[in-house]
């Protein structure tokens, strides 16, 4: 976890990069992409369940961020996170999916046996189906807490809401997931 001083230093570095981009150095923007793409990609992947969709959302969000870079006030990472988070929620609201996911996943397997891999794939699919049944705001809170491992305080800062509201969302998401999965896995 980043310390407060570390965040301030990082914010200063980001501001310097932004100044360079705004003064015409397009290539400097790649520093921001490299610095922040992983957590943003994981958020998009957790929210959509599809690597292809997550990549598209990431690409569109960085293009949008580049076009509006002069409007950044405060921390760039929080600002660009909100762009990605909104894109994910828009996608969830618009899409009607009957099945999911990770179908194009080409990451190497880390399971020891084919049986273990089969079990994990089944859980992954069931978990994705259960997550897809949640309202976007509940899924977002669950993904940020349990997949991204963020604290409630950090989530509140990024989403500009209260810790109490987020705890409520996470609790409701957990209860819904437990209800959907416990018959098979508990």
């Amino acid at each position: 976890m980043t310390s407060a001083t570390g965040q301030v230093d990082q914010a200063d570095l980001d501001q310097e990069v932004i100044r360079r981009v705004l003064n015409g150095s397009r290539d400097a923007f790649e520093l921001l992409i490299v610095r922040y793409s992983d957590p943003l990609y994981r958020h998009a992947l957790g929210m959509t369940g599809s690597p292809d969709v997550a990549e598209d959302i990431l690409q569109q969000s960085f293009i949008k961020a580049y076009a509006h870079l002069g409007e950044v006030r405060g921390r760039f990472d929080a600002w660009v996170f909100r762009i990605v988070a909104n894109a994910c929620k828009d996608w969830l609201k618009n899409i009607r999916r009957s099945h999911v996911s990770y179908e194009e996943d080409d990451q190497p397997s880390s399971y020891s046996t084919p049986e273990e891999e089969l079990d994990r794939n089944e859980l992954r699919t069931d978990l994705e189906v259960a997550l897809a049944a949640l309202a976007p705001a509940l899924r977002e809170a669950f993904v940020m807490k349990h997949v991204e491992g963020r604290s409630y305080e950090e989530m509140a800062e990024l989403l500009r809401t209260t810790v109490g509201a987020l705890k409520m969302r996470v609790h409701r998401a957990r209860e819904a997931l437990q209800h959907l999965l416990e018959g098979k896995y508990a």
């Binding site: 310097e16 932004i18 705004l22 003064n23 015409g24 490299v34 994990r120 609790h171 957990r174 508990a186």
Partner: protein
Amino acid sequence: MYDDLNAPEDHSDPQLGFQPRSKTDDADSALPNHLPDREVPIPNGGSTAVLHQWLDGEVSIAVVRATQGGNDSVDLWNKIHDEAETLRSRTTPLYVHKRIMDSLPEDTYRGRPWYKRTFALNPATMLVAAAALLGIGAIVAHAVLK
């Protein structure tokens, strides 16, 4: 911050004042023999609250396991967290960085006039600005006093 899913599974937790149940202190053993088994489910509002506390890292795993259905809940959430851990280790495919850079417009900020450019406010730029203002002030004063 991650929840502690590797806490010891020992049911006793002296800090919380919890001791493992034994046959002798089991409340059921004190009941008369003719009473039928309980068929009405015990409301699990308490165990749900404890589960949330554990998932938020506020109580140990032993406390959850001691509640009704606690072992099943812990097993389920350990599986979910294993899956979440896999997702947490994912990184952006490298070709995505290039794809994003290739799709950025070339001329958005190139060729901006100097007065639209941004300047970092540091001691050096402040010194230059102060010197420039002093110079302008001196010229204006000289012209007025002439």
